[in-house]
Amino acid sequence: MLSNKFHPLNFIVLPLLGIIAIFCATHIIQYGLIFAIMLLNFSLLCKKPQFKIMLWFNLSLIPALLALFISSYFFASDNELSNYALSSQAQSKLWFSATLAMRLYLLSLVSVSFMLHLPQEQLILDLIQRKIVRVKIGYSFLAVFNAFAFMKQEFTRIQIAYKMRFRKKWLSPQILMPLLVAAARYAHHLSISMYTRGINQERSYHQPKINFTYYDLAIVLLNITILSAVIFAK
């Protein structure tokens, strides 16, 4: 599979290039092209896209995009509209609002879609192996991913205890105290576990290091070239 040939760091590098391009772009057609390039990148890197979550995310963006479109349509200044030398002011307003909404949409979509599918564990392990991230910090991050399920369970219990005691449906910030205590205990046990198993900087790894390949170089260079062409083309 082609997605296996790319280094997980591409999940950060490629959307970053995309975001820089979005900030540099000014025309709606440029945004359209950047969207197409990012979509291609995404389909190359991602093994199992989470379509359902992406759909919900897109739907949740609609109110914000509509609000931005309407406010920029009605309250755009003449100075802002001067870049759009179209036949009528209404047309200029329309293009200006559509461009702004498209920029917001693309920024959110590119950031969320790549971050959602980021292979966090693989990436952190790689950064540890390359000594970019310290072993203690990297493994603490990995352990935090495991802690989510436990903390969620603990939070539900605390919520229920509070609701039943005060017979209220809403929650008070006071319930953060038992949650903080639970989190502190979890962290303490985890640090003991790491210490007793001898965590240290000079360790070996059972999984092989993921090397950068020509595929990675090719995809990054190709992105830089095409995105530059899209931005600087007249």
């Binding site: 564990e121 493994y139 990995l142 352990a143 991913f145 495991n146 802690a147 399920a149 436990f150 603990e154 219990r157 605390i158 229920i160 205890a161 509070y162 609701k163 039943m164 005691r165 017979r167 449906k169 008070s172 006071q174 319930i175 105290m177 038992p178 205590v181 639970a182 205990r185 979890y186 046990h189 985890l190 640090s191 003991i192 576990s193 790491m194 210490y195 007793t196 198993r197 001898g198 965590i199 240290n200 000079e202 360790r203 070996s204 790894y205 059972h206 999984q207 092989p208």
Partner: protein
């Protein structure tokens, strides 16, 4: 000839910025190849002593250490982190010790820290997993495992490092009896090669493996007991209710053909029928994940199931939550989940009657989190009682409690029962159930059977 591994004398410890001073008077020796049980009341300092035996004090836990702990003829505080890897240390909560996301990486973690190559790691893991018949777990993600399986992985990860001494801090506390038994079987297999020190309240599992018992009394005196002595027969007395058993009892809760499944999941509860009367104590046992806690949530109206659960003939789904929760309340196994104020007095709204009933008057100004385990459990029950419910649902009420505290709790529950209050408790503690329960049910395969 016995070779001493540990020599402990007048151990004491002060946590930084705390008024709590731990002082254990007396001395004891642990010899090579022994399996020692350290026994004592909750809050007597067993876990702190175990942490000191591992050398966590002063390397990881700051504080002032006093007395002497000699490990292999040398003061334990003089060992560095690498030298201390010869002492394995297992904690009670299986979840909070896990670092990686899959079983293989978790087992490899300690070996990687020791610098073994990938092929050495693979051969060591494969061999030990086969020895303990756990090779089927190697490909699993940790979140797919039960609590018992997670604790087995934790134990295996420590055994892989081939420790000279193994220290176990309540290794079966979070487990159902079957999983606890399996962990002890694993230990029994390993024990022939090593020295083991165990702190455990559920010591009836350990009878066959313990060679000596070290007792820590409430006033901090260390004494030795032989494993032949009466501790194995220490069971709670059967408490008798004071009321007339023939007296007509009112049905509070009725489960009528209760069926329940979480979305996209197998059926958790299947056609359950149960009536809970006033002044009754009902116990529910079952393996971890059998649906016991879900059943409590259903009875408490937290999960809605219209037409299947009734409070005094009225469907609880139709009862306003404020009214329903004035009739019944739920207590979690971790009493701290119920604390939100800064003092015991505030938690109980200065109710002197309840403070006196639960023997908490001397602690009234204290922060709830600073109480002993027994006092925390009593306070959480007092908070529930302060709401004047008719039914209290208890989730593992004896978790972390020693014999004395369990007895106090059993007497308190019986006293409340005699005043007409009802209890439904989910518990693994057979001894506690035998002492107070009127009826006992076992939940397995979604079905409830009377034992």
């Amino acid at each position: 000839m016995s070779i001493p591994i540990y020599q402990v004398e007048n151990f004491g410890f002060n946590y930084p910025q705390s008024h709590y001073n731990l002082k254990l008077n007396g001395k004891f020796t642990i010899n090579q190849g022994e399996c020692i049980l350290i026994q004592g009341a909750s809050g007597s300092g067993k876990s702190t002593l175990l942490a000191a035996l591992k050398g966590l004090i002063p390397h990881l836990i700051n504080g002032k250490l006093s007395g002497k702990i000699i490990f292999n003829h040398q003061d334990i505080t003089t060992f560095n982190e690498k030298q201390l890897l010869g002492i394995g240390y297992l904690q009670q909560n299986p979840d909070s010790q896990l670092i990686c996301s899959d079983v293989y990486s978790e087992l490899a973690f300690g070996l990687e820290n020791q610098g073994f190559t990938a092929s050495e790691i693979e051969s060591k893991i494969t061999r030990i997993a086969q020895d303990f018949k756990l090779d089927n777990l190697l490909t699993y993600q940790l979140n797919q495992l039960s609590g018992g399986e997670k604790q087995k992985v934790n134990l295996l990860a420590i055994l892989l490092m081939q420790p000279q001494v193994l220290l176990l801090d309540e290794p079966t506390a979070f487990l159902d009896p079957e999983s606890a038994h399996e962990i002890i079987m694993m230990l029994q297999q390993y024990i022939q090669h090593s020295t083991v020190v165990i702190v455990e309240h559920n010591h009836y599992y350990l009878r066959n493996i313990i060679s000596r018992v070290i007792n820590i009394s409430n006033d901090g005196q260390i004494s030795e007991q032989s494993s032949e002595q009466s501790i194995w027969n220490q069971t709670l007395p059967k408490l008798k209710s004071a009321g007339d058993s023939k007296q007509t009892k009112q049905a509070l809760i009725e489960l009528r053909q209760l069926n329940f499944a979480y979305s996209n999941n197998r059926k958790l509860l299947n056609n359950l029928n149960l009536t809970i009367n006033s002044g009754e104590i009902i116990a529910i046992t079952g393996k971890n994940g059998s649906g016991k806690s879900s059943l409590l949530k259903l009875i408490a109206g937290i999960i809605k199931t219209p037409g299947q659960i009734f409070w005094q003939q009225q469907d609880i789904a139709t009862i306003n939550y404020q009214r329903l929760w004035s009739y019944l309340t739920l207590l979690w196994q971790n009493p701290e989940a119920h604390f939100i104020y800064n003092s015991v007095d505030e938690e109980l709204e200065q109710n002197n009657k309840i403070l006196a009933l639960f023997n908490l008057v001397p602690q009234r100004a204290q922060n709830p989190y600073s109480l002993s385990e027994g006092q925390k459990r009593r306070l959480s029950l007092a908070i529930a009682l302060n709401l004047h419910p008719q039914l209290i649902l208890l989730d593992e009420p004896t978790f972390g409690q020693d014999y004395e505290h369990k007895l106090q709790l059993a007497q308190l529950i019986m006293q409340l029962k005699n005043q007409g209050m009802s209890f439904v408790m989910v518990s693994h503690d057979q001894d506690f159930i035998d002492a107070i329960a009127d009826r006992r049910y076992h939940l397995a395969g979604g079905e409830l059977s009377l034992c």
